[in-house]
């Protein structure tokens, strides 16, 4: 724990999962993402709506506000502990 703190100020990174086909294109997730991770897609989904795409994943904190705002359960964010990821990566090596 102490070591990972030393290596990086960030304890967590964020991940966003998007189910583009469930999206109805309301844009709430894009508008209210506090760190502006999302942007509108260039192309529409099968139902004809423009879903969100990830524009800047580095900015994501995994706060899941996008998930809370989504009326169609099409997106959610998760926090991933960086030290855990690092450990897992080490195991794989």
């Amino acid at each position: 724990m102490a070591a990972s703190k030393k290596n990086s100020k960030r304890k967590f990174r964020g991940e966003v999962y998007i189910d583009q086909e469930r999206c109805k294109g309301c844009g709430f997730c894009i508008e209210f993402c506090p760190t502006h991770v999302l942007a509108l897609a260039d192309s529409f989904n099968q139902k004809g709506y423009y879903p969100p795409v990830i524009a800047d994943i580095e900015a994501c904190t995994g706060c899941d506000l996008c998930g809370m705002y989504c009326p169609d359960f099409a997106i959610y964010g998760v926090k991933i502990r960086l030290d855990v990821v690092q450990e897992e990566a080490n195991h794989e090596c």
Partner: protein, 287 residues
């Protein structure tokens, strides 16, 4: 990107998605917050039941993967009261719209509040009868346009928190669909509190209400909520009425305690009948 399995899915009937709700409608956010409240509380699916009435919001019952009842127009509250009386061990949640709960169901709302029926009412207020195409509802703001108020609504709308407060609700809150964290917390609080709890959720109706009143789309409504809402916990509910495009006072307004319907019944009848009283809870509810 891996296939998304949203954590709220375990509380939803995903085989029925996509929902019938329009793009930019806020009802899905209310369902989302509800599922998250259940998740945060660690409530098991079998510890609760959801009851809805008729209308867009009335369809919530069909999307939650919980024992759920889509009842008649205006009547989810008395249905819920009956279910709660029969099964005091369950949390019984009413989710329906303002037209359903306050207009045709207004009598049931005030009496359930008066007798402190132990049901939790989540009232989605979108200011219109959306499913039938946009008629004026009991909260339609003065001067707002509806198909049945083509020159502007001229009768006074209900102030829902004041109505619930003055008729005896033990918990009254109002949030908008912008206030997702507060709304989720409020739902969890209400579900943990015995007695009649009432949460008003102001929600966009872009297809019907906003369009007819030239208020833009769902996102415009959400921006309006963000910019025009003020959190005043403990506000005097008399002062929280709404005007078209006016400020919105949100917050937890009322949190008080008094005996529920069944507690009051036990107390009153028990004190008079003594040993002859056989309380319902002791007779073995079918499980």
């Amino acid at each position: 990107m891996s296939k998304a399995t949203n954590p709220v899915e375990s509380y939803l009937r995903m085989d029925r998605m996509p929902s019938i709700w329009c793009p930019g409608c806020g009802i899905g956010i209310v369902v989302n917050c509800f599922a998250r409240a259940l998740q945060q509380m660690g409530v098991d699916h079998d510890e609760l039941a959801v009851v809805s009435g008729i209308g867009c919001t009335g369809r919530i019952a069909g999307y939650v993967d919980i024992d759920s009842f889509h009842t008649t127009h205006g009547r989810p509250i008395p249905f819920a009261t009956g279910l709660k009386v029969a099964r005091p061990d369950l949390k019984v949640i009413v989710m329906s719209g303002e037209g359903d709960l306050v207009s045709i169901g207004g009598n049931h709302l005030i009496h359930a509040a008066r007798r402190n029926s132990d049901v939790k009412v989540i009232c989605v207020n979108n200011f219109t009868y959306a499913m039938t195409g946009g008629q004026a509802g009991p909260t339609a703001p003065r001067h707002s346009i509806a198909t049945t108020a083509p020159y502007g609504s001229f009768d006074k709308p209900f102030n829902l928190p004041f109505l619930a407060d003055s008729t005896g609700a033990v918990y009254v809150a109002r949030w908008t669909t912008y206030h997702v964290r507060q709304l989720t917390r409020s739902m969890a609080e209400a579900m943990s509190k015995p007695g009649f709890c009432f949460i008003e959720v102001i929600s966009p109706c872009p297809t019907i209400f906003s369009r007819r009143n030239r208020l833009g789309d769902g996102l415009d409504a959400m921006r309006y909520y963000k910019n025009s809402s003020k959190v005043v916990n403990g506000a005097n509910t008399r002062m929280v009425g709404l005007d078209l495009n006016g400020p919105i006072i949100v917050g937890k307004f009322i949190d008080r305690d008094r005996p529920t319907l069944l507690e009051a019944m036990d107390e009153e009848i028990g004190s008079k009948l003594g040993k002859r009283y056989v309380p319902y809870a002791t007779t073995g509810v079918q499980r």
